[in-house]
């Protein structure tokens, strides 16, 4: 099996001394800054983060959940710059608070999938043998089923489990946690394979062989020598994964398996207007635009990072 997304950093990277490593990061940064779209994406992302965090200082979460039946489906106005939804909630406030959740879903689920993917890849690649076979068969098994099919199967089973979750004084629909877990736990496979093949390449190189001969403990080798070399693909996968998770949440909402009220997400605000596209365009336009802009920004950043962190990229 040849994995084409893997770039072999090669021996030259591994043998660079620490000082040179620092300049390598600087070099990457410089390359990133030359990537115009990546810079634009970063600026856009900062603006979006400012919007969802800064906005929260002006509009409270209670306000975002406050219903007012007399103000049902009001078009944008001074009082409600983004208009109101089917039960008269302010869409601007919901877009702000829902944006936090959408971004959190992206970040946390990616953290989970990075953690699982990295550990599985490292363990599998480093130890080899039956552990490798078992983990890789399982990884392949999960990869052999379309992602959306797996997501639907699992979210269908989990939505029934109900619990109230109170995190840092905020109340969440328990479905939020399940969606995060499901997206996180079903997206680590490709990364695991990338990390594994990196480890396999690195294992053969002199410095690891040398460290082993010198009697270094296996755990130490993994953390000191192998892991740092996997950081580039991990960062790129993570960035793109966030965008993917945000879109996935919107898909699940559309199919009726997403995050449930009162917790707002861009996905469920968007699908709240699904049956009335032409009558109430403001309900879907703003959250839709936010999703697109966010994912776009993330993809630009990811693309820039890929170019910047890939030592073989020439330009």
């Amino acid at each position: 099996m040849i994995n084409m997304t893997v770039k072999k950093p090669g021996a030259e990277v591994a043998s660079i001394k620490k000082k040179q490593a620092t300049s390598l990061w600087l070099l990457s940064l410089r390359r990133f800054l030359k990537h115009r779209m990546a810079v634009a994406g970063t600026v856009l992302m900062i603006l979006i983060i400012l919007f969802v965090i800064g906005g929260a200082f002006f509009l409270t979460e209670d306000y975002s959940n406050k219903i007012s039946l007399v103000e049902k489906f009001k078009p944008p106005s001074a009082a409600h710059p983004f208009g109101t939804d089917g039960v008269g909630r302010d869409i601007l406030a919901r877009a702000i608070w829902g944006g936090q959740i959408s971004l959190l879903i992206g970040v946390i689920s990616v953290t989970i999938s990075i953690a699982v993917g990295t550990v599985v890849g490292l363990v599998s690649g480093f130890f080899g043998g039956w552990i490798d076979s078992l983990l890789m068969r399982f990884t392949e098994a999960l990869l052999s089923i379309p992602a959306l099919v797996l997501l639907l199967l699992f979210s269908r089973s989990l939505v029934g489990i109900t619990a109230t979750i109170n995190v840092l004084g905020r109340e969440f629909s328990s479905s939020t946690i399940f969606i995060v877990l499901i997206i996180g736990l079903l997206n680590w496979m490709r990364l695991a394979r990338i990390v594994r093949s990196l480890v396999l390449t690195l294992k053969e190189q002199e410095f690891v062989t040398a460290a082993t001969t010198l009697g270094a403990r296996q755990g130490r080798i993994v953390f000191q020598h192998v892991l740092p070399n996997c950081i580039a693909p991990i960062i790129v996968t993570a960035t793109l994964g966030i965008g993917n998770a945000i879109i996935t949440e919107a898909y699940l909402s559309f199919l009726g398996f997403g995050v449930l009220p009162p917790t707002a997400t861009w996905g469920n605000i968007l699908t709240g207007a699904q049956s009335q596209l032409d009558e109430v365009p403001w309900v879907w336009m703003f959250p839709g635009l936010l999703i697109i802009l966010t994912v776009l920004a993330i993809n630009f950043i990811g693309d820039g990072l890929r170019d910047a962190l890939d030592p073989r990229s020439t330009k």
Binding site: N65, K66, I67, L69, V70, K72, G86, V87, R156, V159, G160, T162, T164, S173, S174, G256, L260, P261, P262, G272, Q274, S275, Q276, L277, D278, E279
Partner: protein
């Protein structure tokens, strides 16, 4: 890729070939087609299906022995007379059991031209009493119909095993003779299939379907449409539309788009929130009919379960109902003029002066104070003996219900009741049995919004849903008394109502029963679910159309043969 390419190529060739065939065949322009948008594909045909959308199709091609019009009067396309005590067709035998004579109309034919006879009804009787004939939803038939005898080719006599006033059955009860299946076709098929109807293509794909209705099944393209053409052997009103198609469209916004562009002629059963969209379509006439379903707020009044103890106090339940402005919420969410039902049962069974609680916040606050729930710690939520009044409030993920849930949550907050809201899938989680961790069966909820249907034809009470015997428990996993309403006085009335043959006395008993249930205040109606229709006036003549539509759970198209094209 090569294999795929070949497959595509051969597929294209087949298509081109089909095109050639179709172009050469002259277009039948005298055909008048009526296209329904059908939001759910039937799983199968016949009584092995529970899908409403399968039952609705039955009126096109497989009529039942009896039906009911919108005034709830019995009618029949198959029987010569409606049996009643008055015309002597309903009698009581020496054992006190009800005996009913049914007379088939003369000259009825199956869609294959064979005559319909009493033998077909006997065949249906066997299907419905012998469980080895396969998986059919038999309702009460096997438990109350003792026997059926053939008197002559067109007459049968059905004997019940007790005094049974609902001898024609009702919306929820099937006991009427089952003469809708052709014995001469099905019996040989069953014999070849190990004696059962399970998996017979006759039902699963409609292959070789023979029935009795104004239309006959022409084709069923799974996932796409089911098509019917006029049944030339039908003796009733000759349909004006020569072809009826049910086009399966699952997505509600697409249903509206399809009607707007004229890809379908009729869209029905859409939700209230689509009203503005359908009204905006110039060519469509939009109207609704009454229905038997109502969405309501249900209370869990279990004396011992995991529910909040406050709900065991009827004063608290009254307070909750009075704290909610149901009329205004319904106007805002469900639309103008949608009625708020007053009691679980159809209004035909209400006693005079049945008290329906209205909106009164002051009264709600007073009742809560009276019952001892006051906000003693000033946190905004009422409490009593150190316990906060926090209720677990469930519904299913349907937009209008979620909207109601949010509105009710806000209203209860005003009187110091805090609710945690949950949306869970109905059948799989909320209504699931206790062995499948069903939330309501496990008594793990306080309030819930869901729909139920009432029965305007029969006053019978299902003890499994409203009696002490229906309390769900590990020993009684099929119990569906999810409100845990258990009143011995009410339970005493239930069998009396079921057996009372005198209509006036029966009404009197039912009134008492309705009153008891109303007094318990564990049910608050939110909105009566009307059935919405949008019909394209350039395709269908909508004059008088509405009057012919059935208003029970699944008889909406029982007069489909009277529909006429526009112009």
């Amino acid at each position: 890729m090569l294999g795929n390419g070949k497959r595509l190529l051969s597929m294209s060739l087949v298509l081109v070939f089909m095109l050639g065939l179709l172009v050469s065949a002259a277009h039948a322009q005298d055909e008048t087609v009526l296209v329904f948008g059908w939001e759910q594909e039937p799983d199968q045909l016949g009584d092995g299906s529970t899908s409403t959308f399968s039952q609705l199709l039955g009126d096109f091609f497989s009529r039942k022995a009896y039906g009911w019009n919108s005034k709830y009067e019995a009618l029949s396309d198959m029987m010569a007379e409606i049996p009643s005590v008055g015309n002597g067709m309903v009698t009581t035998n020496a054992d006190g059991n009800t005996v009913v004579t049914h007379k088939l109309k003369e000259g009825l034919k199956w869609s294959d031209g064979e005559p319909i006879t009493a033998d077909d009804c006997l065949f249906g009787h066997k299907l419905f009493t012998d469980t080895s004939t396969g998986t059919i939803f038999r309702s009460d038939y096997p438990s109350v119909v003792a026997s059926m005898e053939k008197v002559d080719d067109l007459t049968i006599v059905q004997t019940f095993n007790k005094a049974y006033p609902d001898f024609l059955g009702s919306d929820n009860i099937t006991v009427m003779p089952q003469c809708r299946y052709p014995a001469h076709v099905l019996q040989p098929l069953m014999d070849a299939n190990g004696g059962t109807v399970d998996g017979l293509p006759f039902f699963t794909s409609g292959e070789g379907y023979v029935g009795y209705g104004p239309y006959v099944l022409e084709s069923w393209t799974k996932g796409d449409n089911i098509t019917f053409v006029v049944n030339s052997n039908w003796v009733g009103q000759a349909p004006a539309f020569t072809k009826v198609v049910a086009k399966f469209i699952l997505e509600s916004a697409q249903m509206q788009n399809a009607l707007e562009t004229g890809e379908i002629d009729v869209a029905f059963n859409w939700q209230n929130d689509m009203l503005a969209g359908y009204q905006a379509i110039g060519e469509a006439e939009v109207f609704n009919t009454a229905g038997v379903y109502a969405d309501a707020l249900w209370f869990n009044i279990d004396e011992t379960g995991n529910n909040h103890p406050a709900l065991r106090d009827v004063l608290v339940r009254k307070a909750i109902i009075q704290a909610i402005d149901r009329a205004s919420i319904t106007t805002a969410i469900a639309g103008d003029g949608v009625p708020v039902p007053g009691a679980f049962d159809s209004s035909v069974w209400w006693p005079d002066g049945l008290e329906v609680l209205g909106y009164d916040v002051a009264a709600a606050n007073a009742l809560l104070d009276e019952s001892g729930w006051v906000d003693s710690n000033g946190d905004g939520t009422r409490d009593k003996d150190g316990m906060e009044l926090i209720l677990k409030f469930f519904t299913t993920p349907r937009q209008s219900r979620i909207d109601y849930q949010l509105a009710i949550q806000a209203a209860l907050q005003e009187v110091g009741i805090y609710t945690q809201i949950f949306q869970v899938p109905g059948p799989a989680v909320l209504f699931a049995s206790i062995t499948n961790r069903g939330i309501m069966a496990a008594s793990d909820y306080d309030l819930a919004i869901y729909a139920s249907s009432n029965d305007p034809i029969s006053p019978n009470v299902d003890p499994n849903s409203f009696g002490c015997v229906g309390l769900p428990s590990p020993e009684n996993p099929s119990g569906s008394n999810f409100s845990h309403y258990c009143d011995p006085a009410f339970d005493e009335l239930t069998p009396l109502i079921a057996a009372e043959v005198d209509p006036d006395k029966r009404h009197e008993l039912k009134h008492q029963s309705v009153q008891l249930m109303n007094d318990a205040q564990f049910w608050a109606g939110l909105y009566a679910r009307v059935t919405w229709y949008a019909v394209r006036t350039d395709r269908v003549n909508t004059e008088g159309l509405k009057d012919g539509l059935g208003t029970l759970a699944s008889n909406w198209f029982q007069s489909i043969e009277f529909w006429t094209p526009a112009g």
